[in-house]
């Protein structure tokens, strides 16, 4: 067998050239995660070599030929203490270091750019606030923290980017978030790592990291017209939310301007901050989230809006900083019952409505 058959040779070449041993470090957190990982690998190797050295040396020194009569030893509390305290100490170091890392990965910074991700059986849909929609791919800029607000439409999925060392379960019924800051441009793997049915292994994609200006070019080139907030506004009107939330003094629903991030007191007396999850819950389970002073008459929209629709609505409400546009729409569509006097649009003190009233993405 003096020469390797071409078929085998083709495999060997493919394997040798296409051979990875360690994932690339493409996010800010990756080097820190790898530092902890290699610390633990080091501790494990040291521990393992100690055990192997002891076992091998004892086996040689005290084999039956060299040491025919065994000397009975009861034990020594000192030794027991050492191999209880030392492992415990090492493990606690790892615990603290790991917990700090965990909190950093799962607590998004305030200035993070938010991208919504919807997982459904066997595909990922990413929705940028500017209206770009992506299937099984995610374009992110470098140097800018990106927060993913994710939800599933059916079963458990798990959004995993090994190159960024981040992974978050995407569960139905609740937003889960994870954030990262990409550092090196390139294309990296995106996997679904929670078993989700037949094509679990097809639910993969590419995370494309672009330099900031390339990213801006990509945003322009692939916009689908309306920004997410504009979609939300259209949905807001078509679902007749505006009938109650019309910022009129006698409106049945609270004004939603600047509600995102504000402190609300509920009818049950609790005070909460209105974040993405709260907005979503109050759309789907309104009676548990009625603001004080309003009747719990809002119908539930559970099952009537898709997850993308709820995301669009949440995005719209997040960017609603004045009621000007709502008043414009209500004056023209005349949805309101005939109430006394003209629609006295309430101007929030000191803030002129932006003339063109365009809801910026």
């Amino acid at each position: 067998m003096n020469e390797i058959s071409p078929v085998l040779w083709q495999f060997l070449v493919k394997w040798m050239t296409n051979f990875a041993l360690f994932p690339p470090e493409a996010s800010k957190i990756a080097p820190e995660m790898d530092a902890l990982y290699f610390f633990m690998v080091l501790v494990s190797i040291i521990g393992l070599t100690i055990v192997i050295l002891l076992v091998v040396s004892f086996s040689i020194l005290y084999s039956k030929e060299r040491h025919p009569v065994a000397v009975q030893i009861e034990g020594s509390t000192l030794l027991e203490a050492t191999w209880t305290i030392i492992p415990l100490g090492l493990f606690l170091i790892m615990f603290v270091w790991g917990a700090l890392l965990y909190f950093r990965i799962y607590t998004p910074p305030a200035n993070a750019m938010n991208i919504y991700v919807v997982g459904k059986q066997w595909m990922w849909k990413a929705e940028h606030p500017g209206g770009q929609h992506e299937i099984n791919s995610l374009h992110v800029p470098t140097g800018q923290p990106v927060q993913l607000t994710m939800i599933s439409q059916d079963v458990f999925h798990s959004f995993s980017i090994p190159a960024f060392r981040v992974k978050r379960e995407v569960i139905p019924g609740r937003y889960t978030t994870v954030w990262f800051e990409a550092t090196t441009p390139g294309t990296y793997h995106l996997f679904c790592t929670q078993y989700c049915g037949t094509n679990h292994s097809q639910m993969i994609g590419d995370v494309v990291v672009l330099a900031p200006d390339d990213f801006k070019k990509w945003l322009e080139s692939s916009t689908s017209g309306d920004s997410l907030a504009q979609n939300g506004e259209r949905l807001f009107a078509s679902l007749s939310c505006v009938a109650c939330h019309n910022a009129r003094p006698d409106s049945r629903g609270p004004s939603l301007a600047n509600v995102y991030g504000s402190k609300l007191t509920l009818s049950t007396g609790q005070t909460i901050t209105a974040d993405d999850a709260y907005l979503r819950e109050s759309i789907l389970n309104p009676s548990q989230h009625t603001t004080q002073g309003y009747a719990p008459i809002m119908p539930t929209y559970q099952g009537q809006i898709s997850e993308e629709g709820v995301i669009a609505l949440v995005e719209y409400i997040k960017h609603l900083d004045s009621d000007y546009r709502i008043q414009q729409t209500t004056n023209t569509t005349d949805l309101l019952p005939e109430s006394e006097g003209t629609a006295a649009g309430r101007k929030p003190a000191g803030q002129q409505p932006s003339p063109q009233g365009k809801v910026n993405p």
Partner: protein, 114 residues
């Protein structure tokens, strides 16, 4: 070999569980069953008073006392060996671990971010 064995078995007989089988008198049973009736009436009556957050606490307290009465007297745990008492406690301990640790997740979900 055998005579030493015989002695062992006999000796093992005497020191065996020295507690003899404690017979609980019917009077005790009667008292307990009355206490249980009173407990039931109490918990029903208590639920008709608005005590706010205390209602479930009182309901559970009464239920726990009734349960302890049944365990101690009807199930003879009061007169049984330490082993049986330890078994009951270990069961409750694991049950509390299940409830408590699961709650540690559900209660603290609202505190931080997700």
């Amino acid at each position: 070999m055998s005579e030493q064995n015989e002695h062992g078995v006999a000796e093992q007989q005497t020191h065996h569980e020295e507690h003899e089988h404690h017979i609980v008198s019917p009077m005790v049973y009667l008292a307990i069953v009355l206490a249980l009736f009173v407990g039931t009436a109490l918990t029903v009556w208590a639920s008709y008073i608005d005590l706010g957050v205390w209602n479930p606490v009182i309901a559970l307290a009464i239920a726990c006392t009734k349960a302890t009465l049944v365990v101690l007297f009807f199930m003879h745990v009061k007169y049984s060996t330490k082993l049986t008492k330890l078994t009951v406690i270990s069961g409750l301990f694991t049950f509390m671990a299940l409830i408590g640790m699961t709650l540690s997740d559900y209660i603290s979900r609202a505190w931080g971010r997700w």
